[in-house]
Every structure is written in structure tokens, then in C-alpha cells.
Symmetry: C2
Subunit: 340 residues, 2 copies
């Protein structure tokens, strides 16, 4: 059995929630939203060292070059989807390229994790369950009744490594989120998974066989170009589009959760980006050649444009090419939803 | 004596108060700030008809082409200053090109006047005084204690045509502005003047002979290119830089004021531009392909960029090339001063 972990980075999302700065080729994961390094580059650098194989990147054809470029000296394996078919199909592709006993760590590539040591401790903890054929999720301990995330309810304890999952809760209304926060035992579903390839394969064969079959045919007929495998389009396109949560995790009977406190954010809103960014004494985080006067708590992301903010408070000004978005940071989630 | 009026449009100002949308070649007067027509084109179209000669434009070398272009079918006379030397020198240039008994109507080219009929009535009224060798100013009846304008105090009545000017008041502190508004008999100095060329020439010969001499030498040695006269630079550059108010009006003993209510604004702030612009039911005035959602009382000037405002109130978003300015409209005058 390999004693290292195969990181799998999901890059296939369109990333439109942070519109306008995350569209098409400039998908969110490839933008330096919180500092100088892109979220993708941060994610790659999070799974480096003796315990990790070279990362497997599941991405679209338009992102091959930027992924290679942003990985720097790091060697990648690229698995190129002809079109996005949601996370269950992406996970099935990864499973189809790995040895049965391989441990796979599946992660979004557009999140941040501030406490890397705690993250690695959690992976070590989860590995014990994953080796025992549990499909492991990492549940982020909530610090607020956020209605933007799904929740995971913990069931019986599995030794000191985690809990069996009692149930998954869809993005809740505020009252339910508040009740879960007060009750405890509920964690945010961060979309990070750890499992043995054969355990996931068996679960998929049972719960979503069409997705598994499409992915396996797509890999079997893939064309290889250097470090990249291009999945066979006619095969893969038959895969039903389902999230890994819906297709497998919510249905399977051997799913575990490891609660974590790792400084996680999905940066799903400009408010979250502001919170995760370095800020000056006035609470401003401004990129590029911005000029801020008498302004507090603002976020400016403006590539090479000169943004001048005068007398503004708690607003986001996002410039991307010919698009300029101005809104209160508190408005960010509503705006994100309006443009999805 | 000619019975028509020679309009003189002053275009030499740098117009930096509305930064960033008014700099260099894109001076404020050539921008369509309040609608589809530029302020310059609006000013030209305000002095059309049997009573008016073709307008004399005093401008810089960089504005010759845009002035011709924006004048459309209207024939212009262009008097090109090698460099801006303030309004006294510009008026002296105009005087130097006109017959002694000609009536000159001097106007900034970056203001708006909503009530053209009232404006023409006021000119008719002022003509009677101007023909009698008064230097006539038009004083805008104030509707608020604005501290951004100079004020003109009316003295003795000159029949029913206007008043002798008692004194000019510099931009006042708020308390003084409130006192003048309450007292009555004070009007804003709008920078619009009407006079006989020989009356102004005599006043300048007495109060600012160096300016007059420099302008007259500059015109005498000018080079002509079609409709444009290029003022002789070595001559003109010796002119002291003074406003016509300081150099002549405040010193002369035969200065009159005609109080007017003509829907005037100098558009000196984005707040004033917003107030003078067409607005939708939510109080927004947005140019270009803007998208406003849940926003009220906002001003967007963005040429060909796509500005999206979400949940914003009473802010200005001004885009000019690579510059983007975001500020509350109420902050506009402060911001203007900060950048002057």
C-alpha cells in the first residue's frame, strides 16, 4: 500500500461568484485574491513534501497553461476535462487513474487555509479512517451562523479520529443555522475529502454507476501530451452532472467527518476575501496603484488601473478588464447570488 | 455701431476640478457631462441667431481640432493662446481683435444655463448698460449659502436694467454666505461679462496696462491659419496672470450687475453635475453601459466601461481611461479641492 497521499485539486469550476474578477480564463483560483500568490498556487504549496505525491490537477483545456505556469518548479499531473461535469465526475476521473489502495485527498483549488499545520494534523487523523475504507470529509468548525454553506451533523465517535456522519444539511435558513451553531456537533462542508481509491470506486459503482463508467471510459481512451492526459470527450460527456455530495457522500453508509479549525475560507464573497487579506491600519486592502483617502474597511482589486477612493467605507471596488463593480462589502453574498 | 453681440468663449482653463474626467485634452468643457452634448457645444448653441456674430473661441493649441469638431456646422473664429495666462489676458486678446464699439459677451465654456430665454432677456437688459460704457456682470441669484463662489454686492439701481456694483466678495466662509443670503442684494459671480470693446480697453489701459500691451502685441504678430489666429508667443507670455475680476472688475468705477435667474451651474463638482443631469426615478444618472441594482442617487460617468453598482447610495463613480474615482457625492467639493 502506498504510504503517501495523492492530492487531487479540482479546478473545473467556472468561479462566477466573484464576478467580475473571476470568469473564463481568469477563474477565481488563478487570481491572487488575498495577496501575491494565486489561490491555486497556495493550494499546490499546501500539499508538498515527503508524504505527498505530485498533485493531480483536474481542469479544463483553457487552464492547462496557467496551471503549469503557476505551479512553478512543482511537477504536476494534469487530467483535462473536455467540459465541466461537476465534482462527482471529476472525482471519478481521479479514482480511475489511481491504484486501488491509494489515498486520495480531494480539494477545491480556490479556498484558503491559514493554519497549514492544523490542516496536516487533520489529514493524518483522517488517514486512519480512510485506510479503514471510510470516505472522510473535513468539517470546518463554524464561528457564525453562516447560511452560505452546507452543514455536516456528527454521529457516533470513531475512536479519537472523527465521527460517523449522521446527515448532511443543505444551506440552511438563518434560524436553522443559528440553532445548529448553538447545538454544536455541526460543521461546515468545506468540500475537502480523503478516501482510498477503491473505497470511493465501490461507493460510486453502487450510487452513481453511470458517472463512474463515463469517467473510466474517458480515462481509458484519453490522449496523453507530456504531463497532461486529455480525457476522451464522447465518453466523458455522458456522465450525469452531480456534486460528489449528492452523488455519493449523502448516500453512502461509511462516511466520516473530521472536525477542523484550520483558518479556512472559501472566499465565496468579496467580504470573505477582505477578511482573509492583509489590511492596513484603516482596514483597507488595496491592490495595484490605488489611492485611498479618508476611507476605511474597503477592498480594492484593480490590476493595473488607478482606483481612487475618497471618503468611502466598507465598500468593494473590483476592476477586471472593462468591468467595474462597486458595492458594500456587506452586500457581497447577495450580489454573488444575483450573478450566479 | 454694430447692433449684434460678439460672443467670446473662454476655453483656456485646465478644468482639473472634476478630476479624473477633465484633464489635458479631455478638458471639462469638451465632455458631455450632463447629457449627450458637450458643455462647449451647449455654450456655442446658446449664442446663435441674428443678434450674434460667429463665436470667438479663446483656447489652447491642443483644443483647436476638438472645438471645430464640436461646433458642427457653426462657423467659429479661433484665437489660440500659446499658453494659458488667466482670464484678464484672454479678455484682452478678444478686445484686441474687435472694433471699438463692438459689444462683447464673455462666457466660460464649461457652465450650463437651463433657461435660455431668461439668459437672452438678461443680455438684452445688460446691453443697455454696456452701450453706455458700463462693464456689465451677470450675478446669479443664490438659492443656498454656497461657499464655492464669489459674491457681488449690488449698489445703486441703474434704472430698471441693473445695479452699480458696490463691491466684490471673495469666496466666503459659511457664516458670511448665510448672512449674505439672508440680507439679499448679493449674487454669485458667474464669470459672464458684457461690455463695449473700447470701454474694456480703456479700463485695462488704466488698471492692467501690461496685460493689455502683451495681448495687443500678441494679436498684432499673430499667424493666421484658416479660421484660427495663433497669438504670438513671445509677446503674450509677458502678460501677468490675473483673473479679469482682480485685474479690472474689482478696481473699475463703472461696473454694473444684472441679477439673473437662468438655471445656471458651473458644474464645479460632481454633485453639481449630478444635480444638472437627467436622472431616473431612483435619482441615478448613469452613462454608458452601466448596471445599477438597488442603488439610489448615484452618478456614473464611465465612457465605454461597464460599471455595476449594487446597493450603493449617493456616490459618484467616474471612470476616465485607466483612472477610476469613487466617492460620496456629498464629498465632491472637498475632493475637488484636494486635487486642484
Amino acid at each position: 500500500m502506498p504510504d503517501f497521499i495523492q492530492p487531487v485539486l479540482l479546478c473545473g469550476g467556472a468561479g462566477t461568484r466573484l464576478w467580475p474578477a473571476s470568469r473564463g480564463l481568469r477563474a477565481k483560483q488563478f487570481l491572487p485574491l488575498t495577496g501575491t500568490q494565486s489561490l491555486f498556487a497556495q493550494t499546490v504549496s499546501r500539499v508538498v513534501g515527503a508524504g505527498y505525491a505530485e498533485p493531480l490537477i483536474i481542469c479544463g483545456p483553457g487552464h492547462v497553461d496557467i496551471a503549469r505556469e503557476q505551479a512553478g518548479d512543482r511537477t504536476l499531473r494534469l487530467l483535462v476535462e473536455p467540459e465541466p461535469r461537476n465534482t462527482a465526475a471529476a472525482v471519478a476521473l481521479a479514482v480511475a487513474t489511481c491504484a486501488p489502495e491509494q489515498l486520495l485527498l480531494v480539494m477545491p483549488s480556490d479556498h484558503i487555509i491559514a493554519d497549514i499545520a492544523a490542516f496536516h494534523d487533520a489529514i493524518e487523523q483522517g488517514s486512519r479512517l480512510a485506510r479503514d475504507a471510510w470516505l472522510v470529509t473535513f468539517g470546518v468548525t463554524p464561528d457564525r451562523p453562516d447560511t452560505g454553506f452546507g452543514y455536516i451533523a456528527s454521529g457516533v465517535a470513531l475512536g479519537d479520529a472523527g465521527y460517523a456522519v449522521a446527515r448532511f444539511v443543505e444551506k440552511p435558513p438563518l434560524a436553522e443555522a443559528e440553532a445548529m451553531l448553538a447545538a454544536g456537533g455541526f460543521n461546515w462542508n468545506a468540500g475537502i475529502f480523503l478516501f482510498r481509491a477503491d473505497a470511493m470506486r465501490a461507493a460510486m459503482a453502487r450510487h452513481c454507476p453511470a458517472i463512474l463508467a463515463a469517467a473510466e471510459r474517458g480515462v481509458a481512451n484519453a490522449t496523453t501530451d507530456g504531463d497532461a492526459q486529455f480525457v476522451h470527450a464522447p465518453s466523458f460527456k455522458t456522465a450525469p452532472s452531480l456534486s460528489i455530495d449528492c452523488a455519493v457522500m449523502e448516500k453512502h453508509d461509511r462516511v466520516a467527518v473530521v472536525p477542523v479549525s484550520i483558518g479556512w475560507s472559501d472566499l465565496g464573497t468579496w467580504h470573505a476575501v477582505h477578511a482573509a487579506s492583509n489590511r492596513d491600519d484603516a482596514g483597507n486592502s488595496a491592490s495595484g496603484s490605488s489611492f485611498l483617502h479618508d476611507s476605511r474597511g474597503c477592498l480594492v482589486r484593480a490590476d493595473d488601473r488607478r482606483v481612487s477612493l475618497i471618503g468611502m467605507q466598507d465598500v468593494a471596488v473590483i476592476v477586471d478588464g472593462d468591468d467595474i463593480l462597486v458595492m458594500p462589502l456587506a452586500h457581497a453574498r447577495i450580489a454573488a447570488q444575483a450573478h450566479e
